[in-house]
Symmetry: C2
Subunit: 358 residues, 2 copies
């Protein structure tokens, strides 16, 4: 049955996800964290990384590709850093632990960095950056992923389009934040153009020979994504590999045959993450810092507009606009609704949709 | 008189620069550091950020736009962080101090971050990232600069194309490193196309209305650079502002009328920098880390090549290739030679060029 988009209260979405995870064998605490990360991500409007994936995470756990009861632990520790081993847990669990610990380290040292190895897909990097920012810190998050990008001079999928996010506290919106992948565009956009039979800009993908193409039909069977801004995006993707897999002693995308968490459902994903928190209170003080960020936001908003433009957005503003709208009930697109219904069938937990009165 | 390109030993270039700076009133120690940073940058082949600028830095000091005798100092300090006030010194001096202090903090805490306010143009960000990497650490460097970029939806120069660099220790070359600005291309490329009467890709600049254009004649009098990868480069430029001017309590490019260090020669530049060092020894150990980086380099080198490509470069490899060639004598392009001759006329210090025997 094809679903239409549906509406749900954010608290009800979290409750459904958490209860479904408990039914699948997860502890209440980890279920609450996982549900929180994914549902908040939907509230920001980043549906591709939100609850749409939960049914597949649960299937992956059932298939042995992740350990829903694993307890990630600290394997090395210092005044301002730590390494966590994710023990192949649900990615949101070691990721949340990672940023939480980075914030604790930052509280005493000024900055804290925690790297995580042996994790799985952690959802949206931006969630964890915002975790720090909502505690009055600057947060930086990154992860490696399975290879899907080429690099200049090469052909084929060689390195992940490794996501990178940051967030800082502000007043007009709760945070200023950015969550990007290091490819020119998300692969979903290529797949969409392909379905619709449209051509794409020649900066999005390369064909099987490693040559730029505007024909989306090359992806994903052959060809690969292009890094954003060519050698710049490539270079930043290498940085993420070094700071995640390199520092943690975990897997790296061009070395260790990291497989898709989704398509190789019974295989460990083994991605690595890094979380950095910076305590602005110890630098210039929280009030002074936030005041400057607010002034920056105002200056950007009030700058002269381009022809045809009536608004300048600051990073994260679109997401917070959507978040505010979601407070009256979150509208989930068709594919998310379908995926949650699949989860309902697996878990038997009811979904408390908002029923329209008209 | 128009100069041709000339050749010089790296040690002689450093000696000439240092002696010229001492003649201009700088301490021997600071002169040695400044000369080191600029000459090494020439050796990497990044001539736009090397000794070509030294005559103008000295002129700026004479015009009162920077204080060649200033002593930058630590104004706040914690286990893993510090804020330096650059006191309007020659940028290389507080920048070198900044990364040096970040490395010291990292040695005890695992990671160290130092932000610098009231500085001037610090040359190439990559130099300082490499400083950390050559000490066995991962280094990350960033700076804000005077506004030269637009942001999506705006017109005019609103934010700097803030440089960002990182480096990590490796074996085949001394480091893996990247040094980029966050615009799609360097402004020099636009100016060059303009001089040659050529059109440019429509992703490089916008015109006075904030609309993408392939006509380079709009820059720099009107119009502005475009951020790399549109909102992604914009978002990263905002991050750099927050981590430099924001954390240090210094100037921000869209707020404080930061002016060009070069064109406003009698004005303080007031840019801010941030230096991060991460001690890999405390994470997985230096040998294990370097081994992984070497394996990564090998995997990238050995990947299948694109049609028409016979080599895949890793970040920093081209620069290290040039560095190795410079060990037999560094060939400086015409504009650098001319600028050094200007400095010779100011300082009276002789330049020990290598005289070709043929």
């Amino acid at each position: 049955m094809t679903q239409a988009s549906k509406k749900i209260r954010l608290s009800d979405l979290k409750a459904f996800c958490a209860q479904s995870l408990v039914k699948a064998g997860m502890s209440e605490k980890d279920a609450r964290i996982t549900a929180e990360v994914l549902a908040e991500t939907d509230a920001y409007g980043t549906h591709s990384h939100g609850t749409v994936n939960l049914a597949n995470y649960v299937k992956k756990a059932k298939a042995g590709g992740l350990d829903i009861q694993a307890e990630p632990d600290v394997i090395r520790d210092g005044p301002a850093f730590a390494i966590l081993d994710g023990r192949n847990a649900m990615g949101m669990v070691p990721a949340y632990m990672g940023m939480d610990l980075a914030c604790q380290k930052a509280k005493t040292a000024g900055i804290g960095i925690v790297t995580v190895r042996n994790s799985t897909h952690f959802g949206a990097a931006g969630y964890y950056a915002n975790m720090a920012a909502l505690r009055g810190m600057v947060g930086i998050t990154m992860s490696n992923v399975d290879p899907n990008m080429t690099v200049p001079g090469a052909r084929g999928m060689l390195i992940g389009n490794n996501p990178l996010a940051y967030a800082a506290p502000s007043s007009e919106k709760p945070t200023v934040f950015l969550d990007i992948a290091l490819s020119n565009v998300a692969s979903l956009k290529v797949v969409k153009a392909r379905k619709e039979g449209k051509s794409i800009p020649s900066t999005w993908i390369v064909d099987k020979d490693g040559v730029a193409t505007s024909d989306p039909s090359h992806y994903p069977e052959e060809g690969a994504m292009q890094p954003m801004a060519a050698h710049k995006g490539y270079g930043l993707a290498v940085m993420v590999e070094m700071l995640t897999g390199g520092l943690s002693g975990g897997a790296m995308s061009m070395l260790d045959n990291i497989v898709s968490w989704l398509f190789e459902i019974d295989e460990p994903n083994r991605v690595c993450h890094t979380f950095i928190a910076i305590d602005v209170e110890q630098f210039v003080g929280t009030d002074a810092f936030t005041k400057r960020i607010d002034d920056m936001v105002k200056a950007l908003h009030e700058a002269p507009k381009a022809k045809g433009s009536d608004r300048i957005y600051v990073p994260g503003e679109m997401e917070w606009d959507r978040y505010e709208k979601a407070e009256d009930g979150l509208t989930l697109p068709t594919n998310v609704v379908e995926s949650l219904e699949v989860l309902h069938e697996i878990s038997g937990v009811e979904i408390n949709w908002i029923v329209d009165e008209d």
